[in-house]
């Protein structure tokens, strides 16, 4: 290998940081914090270097690191990056880095907290970069555990309920994925002689096993694995009706964990669909497209309406995530170049805007110690700077043109309209409702007269500003120059769109 093993560095530097943190004495609180910041920062640095440096948008999978891991099962350590994963890896590194600073004031067993946070980053980055299905699955599980503890220990009053719910839900998804994994592994053995977990090889085999007409319980092989994988990933996104873990998890999770959860964890499900679910069962996907688009539309509209009825600020934002992730499914199902690009870009833009919204809720919560929207008002008077940043966050969330969310939503809807005009028209209801509940929330928190009990509130401090401003800047920058991200993924998406369209029958 002639260049640095960038991808392993991005993935495992946080693990090194975790080891350092565990070795540090508990009393060295600042050292622990700065270690976490350093190692997640290094990860971000390498992600940035790859993003602007060696990555070639036209070249497909690259920076490959590959060697045998468990030869008995033909399991490989196979890492690689392409246009699909690169923006998400960057986003993940950024969000984890910011989350470290957002966690600065964690008091309770902070050593364990930061160690788990870094472990979580290992899992997430690994999922995006792994190109061996087994490796993918291992990273997927690595990520699950720290998340469970982070919610279950550092969460709010109902943290255990939320954590168990999160865990069981995601584990149910994992188990479905596991079954599909084994099935695919065995199936590949029947074709190539030696079974494999190599996702690229598996993808090329898909054209062979779609020919297989034999059925099991009345369904074809690809149909089986499609639905197993789909439900597994849909839980993570989450798609209606698998979303009910999300509001609970968000409400109970501490702010930085919510930021990670909404900012990047939800994207894993979507990424899994694009990387594994759709390409490995392309014919079943083609058959299920319309249904997926309907699910996406239902998520958009349903999430937005339910968000409208919430009074807990965090629940509002949590349901808005359900709504926003619906665009992904709608756009991906459309399979047009614009729709698929919009859907993938939506992952990125929602990552930044939802991270911002949760940080905003966190800033308010840290001062008021509650999140009841009906009990706020007039904070604008004490926190003008915060109001400015929060306004950016809220308008980024509602997809205001000039900000990145608009680009992704507009591309999704323009692309999807060619295929599913009626669904797009229905989903615009979601756009309206999103604007309504976010602005209504803004109004209830910031406007009007200031209650006596909030008189002593102070404006955002530097640390809070440091967390929020990068996201605000990204939202605006990518709204004006979307090519910064779209150019990176265009070719990968183009390829994916062509491969999948081959099965749609014109």
């Amino acid at each position: 290998m002639d260049s640095l093993p960038y991808l392993s560095l991005i993935t495992f530097l946080p693990l090194l940081g975790m080891a350092v943190i565990l070795a540090l004495p508990k009393s060295q609180e600042n050292a622990i914090r700065w270690t976490a910041a350093l190692f997640s920062g290094l990860s971000l640095l390498f992600a940035t270097v790859v993003y602007f440096g060696p990555f070639d948008a036209t070249a497909g999978v690259q920076l490959v690191e590959r060697f045998d891991w468990i030869p008995a099962f033909n399991i490989q350590y196979f890492m690689g990056v392409d246009g699909l994963s690169l923006p998400l890896v960057f986003l993940s590194a950024l969000i984890h880095f910011i989350a470290v600073f957002a966690s600065w004031n964690i008091k309770k067993s902070m050593k364990g907290y930061f160690a788990l946070l870094l472990l979580l980053e290992v899992g997430v980055n690994g999922v995006f970069l792994a190109l061996d299905f087994f490796l993918f699955y291992v990273f997927w599980e690595i990520m699950l555990l720290p998340m469970y503890f982070l919610i279950g220990i550092w969460g709010g009053p109902r943290r255990e309920y939320a954590a168990i719910k999160f865990f069981l839900y995601t584990l149910a998804g994992s188990v479905l994925m596991l079954v599909a994994l084994v099935a695919i592994y065995l199936k590949s053995g029947g074709i190539a002689g030696e079974p494999t977990f190599d996702l690229l090889t598996l993808k090329s085999m898909a054209s062979t096993w779609v020919q297989d007409q034999s059925t099991f319980l009345g369904m074809k092989f690809t149909t089986w694995i499609f639905w197993f994988l789909f439900v597994g990933f849909a839980i993570k996104i989450p798609v209606f009706p698998f979303h009910t873990w999300l509001p609970d998890a968000h409400v109970e999770a501490p702010t930085p964990i919510s930021v990670i959860l909404a900012g990047i964890l939800l994207k894993l499900g979507a990424y899994g669909m694009l990387r594994i679910n759709f390409p490995l069962a392309p014919d079943a996907f083609a058959d299920a497209r319309y249904f997926l688009a309907v699910l996406g539309t239902v998520s958009i509209v349903y999430g937005a309406y339910v968000a409208m009825a919430q009074t807990d600020f965090k629940r509002v934002v949590a349901y808005s995530s359900v709504s926003h992730m619906g665009y992904f499914l709608l756009g991906a199902a459309s399979l047009t170049f614009a729709g698929l690009n919009g859907a993938t870009f939506q992952l990125f833009t929602h990552g930044t805007s939802s991270a911002m919204l949760f940080l905003i809720v966190g800033v308010v919560y840290d001062r008021a110690h509650h999140r009841d929207l009906n009990d706020f008002g007039g904070l604008a008077q004490r926190m003008p700077f915060f109001l400015g940043v929060a306004t950016i966050g809220i308008f980024a969330g509602l997809g205001l043109p000039g900000m990145s969310g608009f680009i992704s939503e507009a591309m999704t809807l323009l692309g999807a309209y060619e295929v599913y005009p009626v669904l797009v028209i229905i989903s615009t209801l979601g756009i309206l409702m999103t604007a309504a509940f976010l602005l209504y929330a803004l109004q209830r928190v910031f406007l009007g007269s200031l209650p006596k009990k909030y008189e002593n509130f102070t404006d955002m401090d530097r640390r809070e500003a440091f967390c929020l401003v990068p996201f605000a800047a990204l939202c605006i920058l990518l709204g004006i120059v979307p090519t910064l991200v779209l150019d990176k993924m265009a070719h990968a998406i183009q390829l994916l769109s062509e491969e999948l369209s081959a099965y749609t029958g014109g």
Partner: protein
């Protein structure tokens, strides 16, 4: 701007002699960018600068307005009805979504650029000029506001968006700027809601209402864009015209085109406050008066009309009928509400809605240039009226109720004269600016009804005529109640004229209200005889799809030959020679001429009637308005309460949304999540009973994890108080264990 390879056309274009040269694009770009820079500086440094930096955006705006006006004059001197510059044609286009043009997908081929023709030139200059005057006016009016610097930054951001919108050559950027204007409108209406001393909650509600109502329209506009995008794979205005012309020539008008055009038009309905989305504009008067003058009278609301004009070529005859009827109905509907209002700003707001209805109706009946002409003249006199009302409110210590005013003409002479002039203009009194544009609209409406001979096409004309009379009546009612008679309150007694920063803009606007329609280049006598067209209509033609030559764009490289763009429809004044059959043209010309003469006479009669009636009621006191109102009873109450539309929407749309979202939330908690909990409980019980018999891999794994998770939870709870190392190692062990389980499952 990423320069794409220039098309080999530049020499040809230069040979035309009709070009301003490529350097013009730099100047044009500077027009919106100067306010943007002003905004950025104001946002970041405004607070720290002397005078809170108000001079920064104001001077930036002055420069911007200067450039826009100079460019406009250069265009005017070309005196070329076919003048057009398109940066995309000249090789300057921004690949907005994807810079790699080798991708065949249409979205990767999308480019954005500048479109500068006679219409944009007029609008750009008008918007920049009005905006500069409003900035200047605000320096006086907003003095002492607790968020003075933020007000100025929002104002410049708005101006940037509006100027950008006028220059956009495609629907996507148009939409982007359109929404940024919506944002600024939201922020500026809600300006007082964030006041540091007395936050005004009504302003917050008004801003929310404005944003949401217009957003309904915006979403429809977006759907309309998607409709055309899905079929034509382009969103540039010229690309759409060409594709539509070709499509119509081959297949005729199809239903989806009507649908798409009406959806786009709904965007204009929202932004221009047309029925039934008109409810936000009167409430928007919660914003500071300069904002009302600029955004909610002169510029932003007119953007809806501009949009309708730009998409006119995409409108099928059915869509045109819808546009005409909505506009005409709004014109009369809002005018009647204007009669009963007492808040000076709200009366002006309804007047704005009504006038916007005029413009929309004009475009619907095919008088695109008449409608847009009215945009310009209306912008001037309505901005003057609003700033005048601001001056009155300022002078009367923030009293807005006309019942508390009276007799101000002696105390505020400049305000009085300028407002009177503008009122004469809006009422359509000959020789004032509004007369020409209103007259052109009525002529166009009458012509349409004469040509089509259908009763439904006659409706717009009659509605507009009645609305003209009502307009004259309520505007003079406003003038008489405010400035004539005796002062009716202490505020009115102690009123005083405003400072120069406020009166100078009034005088400038008042000047244009007198002369704006005709300008100085044609003499007024000819106007009365209908001999010569106003300058605006000589330069901006009605577009005509049948004469749209798609090849013209490619061949002419952005100049000349583009007459096709806003081509020579017969506008009644004989500029269309050489097109079409001569006989048909003459016949049409006769109809147009007849229509024009009749319309002009009608328009003068109804204006006189309206003004006289107002005099009888409010100047000479022949009738007592209160008694008349009492005599009308229910009818008066209906109009006074704005036909109860706020209440209606509240009871249906808002209530419905709240109930439905509450219902879905209940479903989410009890049915969706309830099912999950039920499954969870069942699984737990199953796990308890099944024991060793549980041999299926999936169930086994789920239950195993369920139980071990609980166990883990217990373990962690114990560890929490204990040693952290142990716990972290446990995490590690957990991950390893899980990997092991995965491996085991494989066997």
């Amino acid at each position: 701007m990423l320069p794409a390879p220039p098309i080999e056309s530049l020499t040809a274009a230069a040979a035309e002699g009709a070009t301003l040269g490529n350097s013009a694009y730099a100047f044009l770009l500077a027009v919106p960018l100067l306010p943007l820079v002003g905004w950025l500086l104001q946002v970041f440094f405004g607070r720290k600068l002397p005078r809170q930096g108000d001079w920064l955006p104001t001077s930036g705006m002055a420069l911007s307005a200067l450039i826009a006006v100079v460019m406009f004059i250069r265009v005017l001197f070309q005196w070329n009805p076919d003048f057009l510059m398109s940066s995309a044609e000249d090789g300057f286009a921004w690949r907005f979504f994807f810079s790699d043009g080798s991708i065949p997908a249409p979205i990767a081929q999308f480019t954005a650029g500048i479109l500068y023709d006679n219409l944009s030139a007029f609008l750009l200059a008008m918007v920049a000029l009005v905006s500069f005057l409003v900035h200047l006016f605000s320096v006086g009016y907003m003095q002492g506001d607790s968020r003075y610097n933020i007000f100025f930054s929002n104002l410049s951001l708005f101006t940037f968006a509006m100027l950008g919108l006028v220059l956009s050559d495609n629907m996507v950027f148009f939409f982007v700027f359109w929404e940024i204007m919506g944002l600024c409108s939201y922020l500026l209406i809600g300006h007082l809601a964030q006041d540091r001393k007395q936050p005004k909650m009504s302003a917050a509600w008004a801003s929310l209402k404005a944003f949401m109502t217009t957003r309904i329209g915006d979403v429809c506009l977006f759907v309309g864009m998607a409709v055309f995008w899905a079929k034509f794979d382009t969103l540039s205005f010229h690309g759409l015209y060409t594709a539509t012309a070709d499509h119509v020539a081959a297949n005729g008008w199809e239903g989806w085109m009507t649908f798409g055009a009406i959806m786009m038009f709904l965007g204009a309905v929202g932004k221009s406050a047309q029925f039934p989305l008109h409810v936000w504009l009167p409430d928007a008067m919660e914003g500071p008066t300069p904002v009302s003058a600029m955004i909610h009278a002169a510029t932003m609301v007119a953007a809806g009309v501009y949009l309708t004009g730009r998409i006119y070529l995409l409108c099928s005859p059915e869509a045109q009928l819808v546009i005409a009827c909505v506009g005409a109905f709004t014109a009369i509907f809002a005018a009647t509400i204007g009669i009963t209002g007492f808040d000076i700003k709200k009366v002006l707001a309804y007047s704005t809605i009504s006038q916007l209805g005029y413009m929309i109706a004009a475009i619907g009946v095919g008088g695109v240039s008449a409608g847009l002409f009215h945009v310009i003249t209306h912008a001037i006199f309505k901005a003057c009226l609003f700033l005048g009302s601001g001056s009155v409110i300022h002078g009367c210590h923030h009293e807005q109720d006309m019942r508390e005013m009276g007799g101000l003409r002696k105390k505020m002479p400049i305000t009085y004269i300028t407002m009177l002039v503008s009122t004469l203009a809006i009422s359509g009194v000959p020789l004032f600016a509004g007369f020409y544009s209103k007259d052109a609209i009525l002529a166009k409406a009458l012509e349409k009804s004469m040509v089509t001979q259908e009763w439904i096409w006659a409706m717009p004309f009659y509605l507009l005529v009645v609305a003209a009379a009502v307009t004259a009546f309520y505007m003079f009612r406003l003038i008489f109640m405010t400035f004539h008679g005796e002062p009716r309150s202490d505020h009115a007694h102690h009123a005083h004229e405003s400072p120069w920063t406020m009166t100078v803009p009034l005088m400038v606007l008042g000047f244009f209200a007198v002369f704006g329609g005709k300008f100085w280049i044609t003499d007024p006598l000819h106007a009365v005889s209908g001999g010569r067209t106003p300058w605006f209509m000589a330069l901006v033609h009605d577009p005509d799809l049948e004469r749209w030559e798609s090849s013209a764009i490619e061949q002419a490289h952005g100049y000349g030959g583009h007459g096709a763009l806003l081509s020579h429809a017969a506008d009644g004044h004989g500029s269309g020679e050489g097109h079409g059959a001569a006989a048909g043209h003459d016949e049409h010309h006769d109809v147009a001429h007849t229509a024009h003469v009749r319309a002009m006479i009608t328009s003068i009669i109804v204006a006189t009637l309206g003004i006289l009636t107002a005099c009888l009621f409010y100047l000479f006191g022949v009738f007592n308005p209160k008694k008349v109102a009492a005599a009308l009873g229910g009818l008066y109450r209906l109009v006074f309460n704005k036909y109860f539309f706020d209440e209606l929407y509240h009871a249906t749309v808002i209530r419905g949304t709240v109930v439905f979202s509450g219902f879905l939330s209940w479903v989410d908690q009890n049915i969706v999540d309830g099912t999950v909990l039920l499954v969870g409980r069942t699984m737990k019980r199953l796990a308890g009973f099944s024991g060793a018999a549980d041999k299926y891999v999936v169930d086994g794994a789920v239950n195993w994890v369920g139980e071990s998770t609980q166990a883990a939870g217990q373990a962690v709870r114990r560890i929490q108080t204990g040693r952290i190392q142990q716990y972290a190692y446990f995490t590690f062990a957990g991950a390893v264990l899980l990997a092991a389980v995965v491996l085991l499952d494989l066997f």
